[in-house]
């Protein structure tokens, strides 16, 4: 007989997830599940529409990282057209993607996670949010907001809108960059470099403060997957797939992204709408093929960052490696995010100085030349795959999307379980435990509206059930 603890957000209608922790008779954690009960069926909506529209349609999947879908979708479109997009268009797309990573990571770190880090996991939930942070440390909160704003400004400057800019299209981008806009981005940059230094300090402090907790917060061996550039550098837009195992050995390298199906399988579970991608050669059973994606994975798979400051920061980061193994603690996702922000800032700084960046040839024209298009890019949360099968006129017959949060699904479950094992205490649902589970999920920054609930904590419904289903204890918050 097992008892089940349910943590179920009730105040959000869509994008909500619930957590159930299954206890055995001895009150010990038997299993933990992170359920995604949101179903949006985007793959079905795409069927019957033209691939030209896909960037605009799929950008609607997510209000937080629409740009990532624009990238993957436009790249799939490029593949259908069979064209090489103009070099300037590629640079501009990369720039928007970096802007996206900056804004998304800043949101995750400052708005969502830093209140936990600064006020502590046991602090009053009513205070432990961005509003509380503004009261306690207005300077830091302001910096976080400014940093995010920069990312959004880059997107807006290029695409005309910060949410859902349909500027990236099959064949390139819709509008070139003007000298004026370039200037605008350039003047905003210096301040942002200072902001990131403050954030890094914060993370170093957190590593000390939470030294005891880091090991319980999803620290386990797993595979890591991501794109790397042709020389093994950190890469977010193009590149080749690389997978390293928990020993740090490359089990896959130089895989062309369009061959992803050879290494990635997708499983489904009746209790979640999120698919469970896994590394095919190791199989799905018992989580053997579990891999992690996103900032931590990208830093674990690349050889070097490729920009001056980020190279140095990565070097520092790698001190966390034990016996040359990849950094395995999920808590270090925060740290990895900041290094990526630094990297993206430097990349933007370099790119806007490129004399070719104002070139007005930014869109290649072509018609359908291939019946399958696969576009892969690195979204803030990890590798994103768009695959379209079309008829000879460009109408979608089948679409397959693998989103980053899905790929971290197995790892998120494992993280919740590890936290629950360490902090669930018999029949009592302590606030501290719930806060930690919440933070555990937040570390992955999953793109579900509940986990990105910027003001206030994640709304949760917690039930403690006896083996025969009787409610022993119940907590509702949010």
């Amino acid at each position: 007989m097992t008892r089940t603890v349910m943590i179920d957000p009730v105040t959000r209608i869509e994008g909500h997830a619930k957590i159930s922790i299954h206890l055995d008779d001895a009150g010990k954690v038997a299993d933990a599940r992170f359920h995604v009960t949101e179903f949006r069926g985007f793959e079905k909506f795409c069927v019957g529409r033209s691939f030209w529209e896909m960037p605009g349609i799929t950008a609607r999947i997510c209000g937080i990282c629409p740009v990532s879908h624009l990238m993957a979708s436009a790249k799939a479109g490029d593949a259908i057209l069979g064209v090489q997009i103009p070099p300037t268009a590629e640079k501009l797309r990369r720039m928007m993607n970096w802007g996206q990573i900056i804004q998304s990571h800043a949101l995750s770190f400052f708005h969502l996670s830093s209140p936990d880090l600064i006020m502590g996991m046991d602090s009053d939930p009513a205070q432990r949010n961005i509003m509380g942070l503004i009261q306690q440390d207005p300077e830091l909160a302001r910096k976080g907001i400014r940093l995010r704003q920069f990312g959004q400004e880059v997107i807006r400057t290029l695409g005309g809108k910060s949410i859902h800019p349909a500027w990236t299209v099959p064949g390139g981008v819709r509008e070139p960059l003007t000298a004026e806009k370039r200037e605008k981005i350039a003047t905003m940059l210096p301040e942002r470099f200072d902001l990131i230094e403050t954030a890094l300090d914060l993370v170093y402090n957190a590593h000390e403060t939470f030294a005891n907790e880091i090991g319980n917060y999803g620290d386990f061996p797993s595979l890591f997957a991501g794109l790397v550039g042709p020389d093994g550098e950190l890469e977010h837009y193009n590149g080749l797939l690389r997978v390293v195992n928990s020993e740090g050995k490359r089990v896959e390298d130089g895989i062309a992204p369009e061959k992803y199906r050879e290494i990635i399988g997708e499983a489904v579970e009746p209790w979640s709408y999120l698919k469970f991608p896994y590394y095919k050669p190791l199989g799905y059973a018992n989580g053997a093929g579990m891999y992690r994606v996103g900032p931590l994975a990208r830093l674990n798979v690349c050889d070097f960052a490729g920009t001056r400051r980020a190279n140095r920061a990565l070097h520092e980061f790698r001190r966390l490696m034990k016996l040359d193994k990849p950094v395995s603690g999920t808590f270090y996702y925060h740290y990895a995010r900041l290094i990526e922000i630094l990297f993206c800032l430097e990349k933007i700084e370099d790119t806007i100085q490129d004399p070719d960046i104002l070139n007005t040839h930014v869109r290649s024209q072509a018609n359908v030349n291939k019946l399958v298009g696969i576009g892969v890019s690195e979204a803030p949360r990890g590798t994103l795959y768009h695959e379209y099968h079309i008829d000879e006129h460009g109408i979608i017959k089948e679409a397959n999307l693998i989103i980053a949060t899905g790929q971290n699904n197995l790892a998120m479950n494992k993280t919740v379980r590890q936290i629950a094992e360490a902090y669930v205490d018999g029949n009592n649902l302590t606030e501290g435990m719930l806060n930690r589970v919440e933070h555990g999920i937040r570390m992955y920054d999953p793109c579900l509206s509940c986990s990105t609930h910027a003001v206030g904590q994640m709304p949760m419904h917690v039930q403690l059930l006896s083996p025969d289903g009787e409610v022993l204890d119940e907590k509702i918050r949010g």
């Binding site: 019957g48 529409r49 033209s50 030209w52 529209e53 960037p55 605009g56 349609i57 609607r60 859902h164 349909a166 299209v169 099959p170 064949g171 819709r174 024209q365 018609n367 006129h393 460009g394 109408i395």
Partner: protein, 239 residues
């Protein structure tokens, strides 16, 4: 051609006897919504948006296909008219799949801007959500039945101006469908000359240039005026 007098919105005005009520109304600078009407094409009174009230009858009259008459007394704005116009827009929106946010015409669409102007902020009718295809077989253009409002501007411009008569309407009522060359994929139509007039006059995202992405399609129908002036009045003037 004789001149008559009539009353529009309590203003005594004069008009040419051949004019339609719509022409007379617009000549006065009075705004009245239309969708199927387009300067240069014949009128068919299909969309019913230009309905006006006339003193002495409870029946509403479509201004585009009603000739002016001596002593006529009409009103173009009333609570009842606004309510009917809103209903018409809502019915159009509920009949097919209009998802403006991802439509090629978002921001440039006549239906969308009419809806906005009339204050249609929600649709009271159940959406029909029909399963309709897109036809991308033409080399240069795309037809999307999901966005078609059956205004038949395309049918008229192709027949009356281009003289090709590629388009027709198949079926009845809500099941009507604009079809190419007696129901073939547009790309295999032999009557279509590929001139693109239909695309330019279509008020919605139902006809668009191939390769258009979200909100990218902008249409221009001033060409109609130039062609018609040249053809009918021998005036060749491009503005």
């Amino acid at each position: 051609m004789s001149v008559i007098t009539l009353t529009i919105n309590e203003q005594l005005v004069s008009a040419q006897s051949e004019q339609t009520l719509l022409e007379a109304i617009r000549e006065q600078g009075v705004e009245i919504p239309t969708l199927c009407h387009l300067e240069g094409l014949s009128d068919k009174g299909g969309c019913r948006l230009c309905m006006v009230e006339a003193v002495g009858t409870n029946r509403l009259m479509p201004a585009c296909v009603t000739k002016v008459q001596e002593g006529m007394n009409v009103r173009t704005e009333s609570e009842r008219l606004v309510e009917y116009r809103k209903m018409i827009i809502e019915l159009l929106l509920s009949e097919r799949n209009h998802i403006c946010a991802v439509c090629v015409m978002n921001g440039h669409c006549e239906l969308q801007s009419l809806a906005a102007n009339l204050g249609v902020n929600h649709v009271r009718y159940e959406y029909v959500v029909p399963d309709l295809p897109m036809d991308a077989s033409h080399e240069r253009f795309v037809q999307d039945q999901n966005r078609c409002i059956l205004c038949v501007r395309c049918v008229r411009v192709c027949h009356e101006v281009e003289g090709a008569h590629n388009w027709d309407v198949m079926g009845r009522g809500v099941n009507s469908m604009v079809i190419a060359d007696l129901y073939q994929p547009w790309g295999s139509s032999r009557s279509c000359t590929g001139c693109g007039k239909c695309v330019q006059v279509c008020p919605t995202g139902a006809l668009s240039k191939k390769g258009s992405t979200v909100a990218e399609m902008v249409k221009h129908h001033d060409f109609l005026g130039w062609i018609m002036n040249g053809r009918e009045k021998n005036i060749w003037e491009y503005r």
